[in-house]
């Protein structure tokens, strides 16, 4: 809903939190986002804590190289985002637009790469419900033959469920972000942001960096641990 906050007609900051409404509102909203991911990530931690035997080794099923690249890629989009914000502060319209476009493009590509990753995993036979019967993974697991180093767990239904839920909802957030970002970019091209009032850029930036931050956590605990 970030864009809704952005659409607020400009008004000088009222005292109170010491920041203007849209920014405060975004931080408040992010508070609830934190709790949403708490539900997902918390469940993951809890379920995994009790069922280590149902978890595969890092990189055994998941494609870490491509995700590592995607992580790096998302960090890039964060730096382009702050660059855009800095440009807005300096009132440098040209740079602002350039950086925003870059951010939108990179964000969209992140989603694309994740979609590719999903396709690959599903092809392998790794589903939210566990192994796909008859798939390469299912066979290896049944046979107990080493697969990328060690034997696969007997079942990965929890692994799959938590993996797809967490990364899926992160992907969903990125998609939302890209849409809102496209809207902000469009406004930027209409010259809506000045050196004195560029709240839209700052607010969408907050959301964008939050999503990046969540990914930093997810990448570590889902792919590397």
């Amino acid at each position: 809903m970030a864009h809704a906050a952005v659409m607020r007609p400009p008004a000088p900051a009222e005292p109170g939190a010491g920041v203007y409404n849209a920014k405060l509102g975004m931080w408040v909203f992010l508070g609830s986002e934190v709790m949403f991911f708490t539900a997902l990530i918390g469940s993951y931690i809890i379920l995994r804590f009790g069922n280590e035997q149902y978890w595969a080794q890092p990189a055994q099923i998941l494609n870490v190289p491509i995700t590592a690249f995607n992580t790096f890629w998302l960090i890039c989009s964060s730096v382009t985002m702050v660059k855009a914000f800095a440009a807005a502060q300096d009132g440098n319209q040209k740079a602002l637009r350039g950086w925003l476009v870059a951010t939108v493009v990179i964000g969209a590509m992140f989603v694309g790469i994740q979609a590719y990753e999903y396709a690959q995993l599903i092809h392998l036979g790794f589903l939210p419900s566990g192994y796909r019967a008859g798939s390469e993974l299912a066979e290896a697991a049944a046979a107990g033959t080493p697969y990328h180093g060690s034997a696969l767990p007997a079942s990965v239904s929890l692994y799959g469920a938590t993996f797809y839920t967490m990364t899926g909802f992160h992907g969903f957030h990125v998609t939302m972000g890209v849409i809102c970002m496209a809207f902000v970019t469009w406004k930027a091209f209409r010259g809506s942001y000045t050196a004195t009032d560029h709240r839209g850029v700052e607010v969408i930036g907050l959301y964008w960096h939050f999503v990046d931050l969540v990914w930093i956590i997810l990448f570590t605990i889902v792919y590397l641990i």
Binding site: G31, T38, I46, K83, D212, I216, T220, L224
Partner: protein, 93 residues
Amino acid sequence: MEQTEHAKHPPYVGIFAALAVLTALELGVAFFENWPKRVIILVLVFLAIWKALLVALYYMHLRFEPNRLRILALAPLPLAVILVIAVITEYVW
């Protein structure tokens, strides 16, 4: 970090570099065979928290916000911790 305090913009690119390096470090550690899993996990979490902090403090410029806002931003975290810890005790009982 000190001199950047006064610079007009925080060292955004420098932080970007730091994030990239930390990510590389993580990858290194994660597949470092001859460490016990426990240690690896601890190190990884430590690194991840560092990355998260960099993003929150500089990219989300919490570092330059009034305290009220920082508190507001951190408020939900204790609740998250309470939930996870309480439920995990189900397994250790």
